[in-house]
């Protein structure tokens, strides 16, 4: 099947099998390998991408379902030169070790803070509890997301 969707501000046309997951479509058809597959049944959150502003599991969504939609991956949240404020907060707080779960953490946190730039620690923990990290013990990730709130508050105020 042929589908059209917006991926990280670019519109693409892709030929996909109906059974192809969005994650495999991003990774194999579009070479966007920042989206990682950790469990392929929606539990670990490593493959989280943003579809029409909402964080979704790319392993549980079929590629055909995003026809006409807007999809943002970790690559779309990254600039060529400097780290984004959220990414910089991750680095400052040592919120990543092996880095495999990190893109899913970044997309999940971005979706949260875009909607709730004033999320408190409990709320951040609650939302991040949908993503598994085996390396960090989570505390630096929570700290990084809390620290990044300021940048999103500014954005929300000016938008």
């Amino acid at each position: 099947m042929q589908i059209n969707f917006k991926i990280n501000s670019e519109t693409v046309e892709v030929e996909v099998e109906p059974r192809l997951s969005l994650a495999d479509c991003l990774r194999d058809k579009l070479q966007l390998t920042g989206t990682h597959l950790g469990c392929e049944h929606g539990v670990c959150g490593a493959c989280t991408v943003i579809v029409n502003g909402e964080a979704v599991r790319a392993c549980l969504m079929l590629a055909v379902q995003v026809d006409g939609d807007s999809v943002v991956t970790v690559e779309g949240l990254s600039n060529e030169d400097a780290l984004s404020p959220l990414q910089a907060a991750f680095r400052r707080n040592h919120a990543l070790q092996c880095g495999f779960c990190t893109p899913g953490m970044i997309t999940t946190a971005h979706a949260l803070l875009s909607e709730e730039p004033d999320a408190d620690a409990d709320r951040v923990r609650e939302v991040l509890s949908g993503n598994i990290c085996r390396c960090t013990g989570y505390i630096p990730i929570v700290d990084a997301v809390l620290e990044a709130r300021a940048a999103y508050a500014d954005k929300k105020a000016t938008s």
């Binding site: 469990c39 509890s129 390396c135």
Partner: protein, 780 residues
Amino acid sequence: MGEFGIGQSVRRTEDDRLLKGEGRYQDDINIDGQAHASFVRSPHAHAKIISIDTEAAAAMPGVIRIATSADVIAAGFGPLPCIIDHMLELKRQGDLPRVLPVRPILATDRVRHGGEPVAMVIAETFQQARDAAEAVHVEYEVLPSTTDTAASAKPDATQIYDDAPGNVCFDWEMGDAEKTKAALTDAAHVTTVDLINNRVICASMEPRGALGQYDKDSDRYTLHVGTQGVFSLRDLLAGAIMHIDPSRLQVISPDVGGAFGMKGFVYAEQPMVLWAAKELGRAVKWMSDRTEAFVTDTQGRDHVTSAKLALDKDGKILGVQVSTIANLGAYASQFGPGVPSLLYSRMIPGLYTTPAFHVAVSGVFTNTVPVDAYRGAGRPEAAYVIERLVDKAAREMEIAPDELRRRNYIQPSAMPYTTPSGLEYDSGDFAGNLNDALKRADRDGIESRKAKSKAAGRYRGLGIATYIEATGADPKETAKVEFEDDGTVALTIGTLAGGQGHLTTFAQILHDRLGVPFDKTHVHQGDSDALPQGGGTAGSRSLVIGGGAVQATADKIKDKATKIAAHMMEAAEADIEFSEGTFTIAGTDRTMNIMEIAAAAKDASNLPDGMEPGLDHTDEFMYLAPTFPNGAHICEVEIDPDTGTIDMQRYTVVDDFGKVINPLLVYGQVHGGIAQGVGQVITENCVYDPESGQLLTGSFMDYGMPRADDFPSFNVSTNEILCQTNAMGAKGAGEAGTLGALPAVINALVDALAPLGVTHIDMPATPESVWRAISAAKAA
């Protein structure tokens, strides 16, 4: 050394790429023209293979080749090795040799655990390979299975191997049985604990994979595989399995998405993709999914232990006796039998003066996935036993748990101290760690906090654990420093990180030692062709041994650079002073820095007669002794008796890692270790169905991985007592978090529920088991 020196929390050079989604992990590596592999795996825990019918599968779309054990035999490949004989001489009771069964790469006539590979299907696409793998028809005769650790050691248990009666792989003893027995007889008090160290799944977030290539012209293989050490994997694959010269195999590791011991081993899929690459003349890729990871990745822990502690009337330890059954799984894995024998038993005396000790361990086979090293490998198991004993003894003798520990600690003045298990501790202030931790945890305020909880209908407890461990594994490491034409420095190291931050730490050490600019240094790892030899990540060894190699290499470069500086500035070598990368003629303002010398050294005309041009150098380091990181963990919990849920309120750690190179990264290691330890205590448990032998916790839906809302903040600090056996003064930090966490959390739970009469809770202390413990205590 400014902001990039030793002791600075330098932010990682790794992060930029990984945060932008530019990491290159196993599944991101693809080779033009590659085919895809999928494995047919045993659905049974124990069965005879009657027949394998590949005809229907072979006719399916895209299928290129199907391999079974006949192909492996035709290739002349050896079985998956257990290299324990290189480490220890294991025996069974009655002076019989240990049993190391043949572990075929693909099963021949029998399968002994669910998930064991039986056939390999190679197709044009991954989906086609998977579809066809499902169409391979294997006829099995299902046999009775045994999975439970203690039950498998009983005389009436199902026998897995004809030549391993009682399912025994080995019986191991350490210490003095008679002396320990006498200590127990003479003791004023004997404390007994029976405990289970539950089996856990390593669960790196990135599953395993393997991508094999073969080049006909050079007759060389290349394996792309996320691993913990490319050199040892190369040598084992080439030497033990493929019977080729190691120079004919290059192992390259991409970014590694977590390993924790589990990725340190050779696995069946690795030789198979190499075999297939040669057979087909094209690259062959295999990528595990999560379900496969659960049934093929080595698993961890799994001990059943009965232990006794003998004390005099003042709470002084007289002896400790430990009897353990260790579940090895269906086969002896690469290091599997070494973990519950040597690595475990030699740490049983812990931080205490222990006049007599005896440890007896039986390693038994079961129809489960093989067990091997998991973060800590034997030391967390030992720390759990001794710290439960000491804590329980204190409670029984009505001595404060910290005080009983203090009465028994090996004193700093006694260092170096040789333990009865033969380890020589070089340094440590165990009471100092504990005292600091108690203060940071506000132990003085615990009674009022307990009272507040009680008023709210909850039980609060504070648990103490102190630990010591021996780090090490492969004692040798290699480092190469090259000064590139573009003014950068390439540092190639033989060890390999999977998230620990080596690229940053080793650049810091080189910067400290040689003064090369931190931001011009690029650290390389994970290519077996890049160095003559190397080690890898295991046993918290990389910083001390790899760092030693960086220092040794830097020192040789400094010596040569001094000669060049003297020659170029026309001074005597003895007059050249070195500091922070600058070579100065003493008493003058005439200087050259290391980068200027490196550039000049490329031109022979700048050098003394006969000197080889260039400053590049490769060197090795061999460590003299293990390091002994130690510390104190204090955990405070609140329990809701109605639901059995545990609310972790505080977690405090004081560690002695000797000289800390990068505090940020060390705290990261401690946090991660605590999380894995706490996970094992409160949520994680690997469960096999006792009837069918099926893994019941075979997905993240069923296996309780700890999550972000399970943890409070951790209060982590260090007490730097320099290690006396290496130049940096550093002690390994990678695994320590798991050592303290198991006993600290259980001791906290027992402290909370002691008023009800609870004396022990086994791991995992899930809400259900805590609730049951409360109910049973109330009913008693």
